[in-house]
Structures are given as C-alpha cells and as structure tokens.
Symmetry: C2
C-alpha cells in the first residue's frame, strides 16, 4: 500500500489529504436548497446533499492531491442513509484515482477486531462493505486491537494509521503522561513502529502509519526521529491553527513521510473571507483554490518533496 | 439513566448483560439452513439470520436479566444489511424492556464526537438512528472525546461506559504503564469518576460508567475503591476465563455497582458439552440455562444484590 501512496505523493508534489467531513451547517445552499425543496429535509435528503457536495469537492481536487479522508462519524450520524452515502463517497473517490483513508478510529480485540478489519480494510463473504485503502485505529487496547488490522492489511494490501498524538487540546490528559521520562505517546510510537516492521515497502515506509497532530511541532520533530519508517497522517492544519512552517520536521530529509489533512479549511473554504468571491455555488472552485494555497504553503514553508 | 439500570438490576437480582455478538460460525443450523436455503448466502441473508438468532436469545432471557449488549462490529462487518439488523436488534431489545448497551467503542473530538453522540445516544434532525441506552467510549483522546457524549447523555438521559482496564491479554501494553507509581488505567479511572460527577443518581452511581475486565480481580478491587460512584461494565466472564468468585470485589458492600457481560458463553451455549442436550434447535433454551447458571454463580460466589 505505502509504495502506491508515496508514489502518488511524488506525482502530485502535494502531501495533502482532503477531509470529507460534511455537516448540515456547512452545506452550500446551492446544493441543499434544491435537494431539500425536492425531497424535504430528511436523513435521506441530507445524505443525498452530502454526496452531491462531496462529488463537487472530489472533482475539484482530484488532480491536485493524492488522498481524501471521509470521517465516518458525520455519516453515521445520519444512520443508514448516511452510511450508504459514506460507501458511495468512498467508491466515487476511488474511481477518481484517489487513495481513501477511512477515518473510523475503530479499536477492539480478537474476533471483534477481525470484524472491524473485514468491514474497513477487507471483505465479508467475498463482498466489500465499507473498505477503504487505510483505516484509522485506536491503540488503547494494545496489540490485540491491532493484529487483525495488520493481518487484513497484508492480505488486501491496505494500511492503518494508529492514533499516537492527536491534535486536540485535551490530548495531553493521557497521551502526555510521563512514564519514567517518556510520554505515553512515545510508548505508543515505539509499538506502532514495531507493528509496521513486516510491511516496510521499497520507499522505506511501512503500511502502519501514525496520527500525529499538527498542533505540536516539537512532538512531530521528536516522533519523526523515533519512527523513521512510519508515515504520519497529520490533522490540525488550518482550522485547528497550524501552518506549513510548523510542519517542516514532520517530513524526512527528502520531504516525504507525512500527509497533512485539512477538512473544513478546504471543503468549507467558500465561507471564508479570502475565498468568498467564489460565492456559494462556487464552493468546489473555492475548495480547489484553498487546496492550491495549502500546497503552496507546504512547498514554501514545510519543504516537502516536489 | 443509572437509577433505572440499578432498579432493573435489583428487580432481577441479576447484574448480567447478555452480549449479542453473532458470528456466522456461531449460527445454529436450525436458523441458518432455512434462511440460506430460501435466500442464498448473502450479506442480507446473514443479517436476517443474525436477527432471528438475536430474537430467540432476547425472548429467552428477557425476564432474567436487565440488559443486553450488541457489539456493533459484528453488524458493521455485514455492511448496510448488518447495520439495519443492529437497529432492529436494538429496537427489539428495547421493546422487550431491556436496557441496551451499544458496544461501539467510539472516540473522537469536538464536532466529530458530537456526531457519534447523536448517532449512538441522541437524535439527528429529530430522528433516532443507532441510539442505545448506553454506548461504550474510548478515552485515548481525553475530555475532548468525552464531553459531547456527556452532553447528549444529560439531554437524552443516557449513559456511557468508558474503557478503563480491558479484559484482553495485551491490555497491559499501555493501560498498565507506570506513571509515578500509578497505572495509566488508574489515571483514566480518576477522570472517569470526575466526568460522572454531574450525573450521580439517587442510587449513588453516575451515568458515566467504566469498562473493567473480569480477568484481573485485583484490578477490580482497586478500581472499586478508586471509583465509588462508577458503575462497572465487566467483560471477560466465562469464555475469557473469569468466574463469579473472581468478581466479588467488583461490587460494593450492597452487592451493586457492576454488570457482568457474557457473550459466547450464553449465545453459543448450545455448542458447549454441558448444554448440548438442548440440541441445535434448542439454542435459545440453552442460552436461558446458561444465563441461569451464570446468575447462580454470581449470587453464590460474587455476593451480588438479590
């Protein structure tokens, strides 16, 4: 998996992931008004509006970036229609040639873990349900919560990103606790690195990546050294406050090894002053402009591969 | 929420939760053969068989126990038909008067957390999707991953069980790490206790419970003292090796404060030697017999309220 991902990052010169995390309050009226007028406002019609919205974004960025990351919670909130929209979005993005990271943050043990792995990376009775190229995984339960994902990853050539240090303010409550001079997230990082040893590709990185928030640059630097073969998925750019200059040390000397996610900053760019000239109906063009600005920022200030 | 739960535990004299975690390999042929013969073996027909199986179990135990716990991973594995089955199972169990614990182990931050909370405890646009009485939650991201569940819990009178010390062997990898003489799970326990302060009921327990595995009796004892107002959800009974005698100290002096889960040990009892006389078509009666045996064990050996 990882070699394909790094290849696509090199092709685009843009280590960027666009987060497809729609909320009703974020929908452009040009999408929602028409759909709600035709079908009323129901879970089905909202899911339909999300799919329209996502397709617009995907079409606008697919030649610029290697990957998108739908956040399954936003779809789960809409129940069954929402999860059908999630599946449709995953398929549409794959068909557009994008690598799809399912931000599902699942984590459980044994046969339960195997069920999640089948759903999000593999197959069930020969059928694909919610499978994406990557899934995000929570490490709290230890190896028992990871092994079945690793197994499915090897079988289906897919990968995971394990939560190591998240971008939110309260991530410090547990992740930063001190264990004989090391932080909990460093202990997790060492395990993540071990879990990836069996799947290191030609590019030097493995199929087992780490979620490392953009909001703690010194942590990124430390973890880059601690996990030389681990790809980082970096949330917290833009809306959560971090910029390209904060991310320099998340990348290796070749400017590789991390993919930076932006969700609201791209998909809701049309609501920001700097892109307001695109108007509501130009939400996709605004997303494209915001993506280009983000790529420029990363190239100029984070020194990424190009 | 918690007062209703404790009341039902007192009524039944059985602090037991039946885990509805079906797997294809576990289905009685009396259920699967007929359904697969009629409809072939597809995700839809498997989901249909799961629902038949679950209904049989629920009908057989609903007068004996206060609660059931469907594990959403087993349903997610079947995609959309599986999640429809999950919803149907939740509804069927609620209509039978049972308290339903959605074992979803979700965990994310901010507006994403709000989406999960709406899906699993609350409503979306006035509609219920996957909501259960309780949801299990992963604490790795700290308070940002809990607050929206607390908010939804207060609004809809529902509760959560936060993973503290899980029953699996590798739970020690991170949960047992030593932080200045305390374990990580003790640090999490203190937070869980704080998160519950706003929802302590007349019974003395709060709507914010803790998952504490049955497989570490000394840990249960320690956590019972550390979290006097916290209800425990206890996995690991039976199939994972723990018995009633191991659980004495998980309960308070009144024999309250914990609910013990058994999944395979009940729903697949018909496959065990001791219940094999019920036969395949007697799987529900076997589940009832295994539940009665579990209740007797807890009454005799764990000293639970009756």
């Amino acid at each position: 998996m990882i070699d394909r991902f790094i290849e696509k990052i090199k092709e685009t010169g843009a280590p960027v992931c666009v987060g497809l995390d729609p909320k009703v309050s974020m929908l452009p009226m040009s999408v929602s008004d028409r759909i709600f007028a035709e079908n009323g406002k129901s879970l089905e019609s909202i899911a339909g509006a999300f799919f329209e919205y996502n397709k617009g974004i995907i079409d606008a960025v697919k030649d610029l970036v290697p990957s998108v990351k739908p956040q399954i919670a936003m779809y789960e909130e809409l129940g069954i229609p929402g999860l059908i929209c999630y599946q449709d979005t995953v398929k549409y993005a794959k068909d557009a040639g994008l690598i799809v990271i399912g931000d599902v943050k699942r984590g459980d043990i044994g046969s339960t873990c195997a069920s999640y792995a089948a759903a999000h990376l593999g197959q069930t009775e020969g059928e694909t349900t919610f499978a994406t190229d990557y899934a995000t995984v929570n490490p709290y339960m230890g190896s028992d919560g990871i092994n079945e994902f690793l197994k499915a990853g090897l079988e289906y050539d897919r990968g995971i990103f394990v939560l190591v240090k998240t971008s939110n303010p309260s991530s410090a409550e547990f992740q930063d606790l001190d264990i004989n001079g090391e932080k909990l997230y460093e202990k997790v990082a060492v395990k993540v690195s071990q879990w990836g040893e069996a799947s290191i590709g030609k590019c030097g990185f493995s199929d087992v990546g780490a979620v490392v928030g953009a909001t703690y640059p010194e942590v990124g630097r430390r973890l880059r050294k601690l996990m030389p073969h681990t790809m980082f998925l970096v949330p917290g750019y833009g809306a959560q406050g971090a910029g390209g200059a904060d991310l320099k040390d998340y990348f290796d000397k070749d400017g590789l090894g991390a993919v930076v996610n932006s969700s609201r900053g791209i998909i809701a760019a049309y609501r920001k002053d700097e892109y307001s000239s695109y108007g509501d109906e130009g939400y996709a063009e605004a997303a494209r402009a915001a993506t280009l600005d983000m790529i420029r920022d990363l190239r100029e200030n984070a020194g990424v591969y190009r």
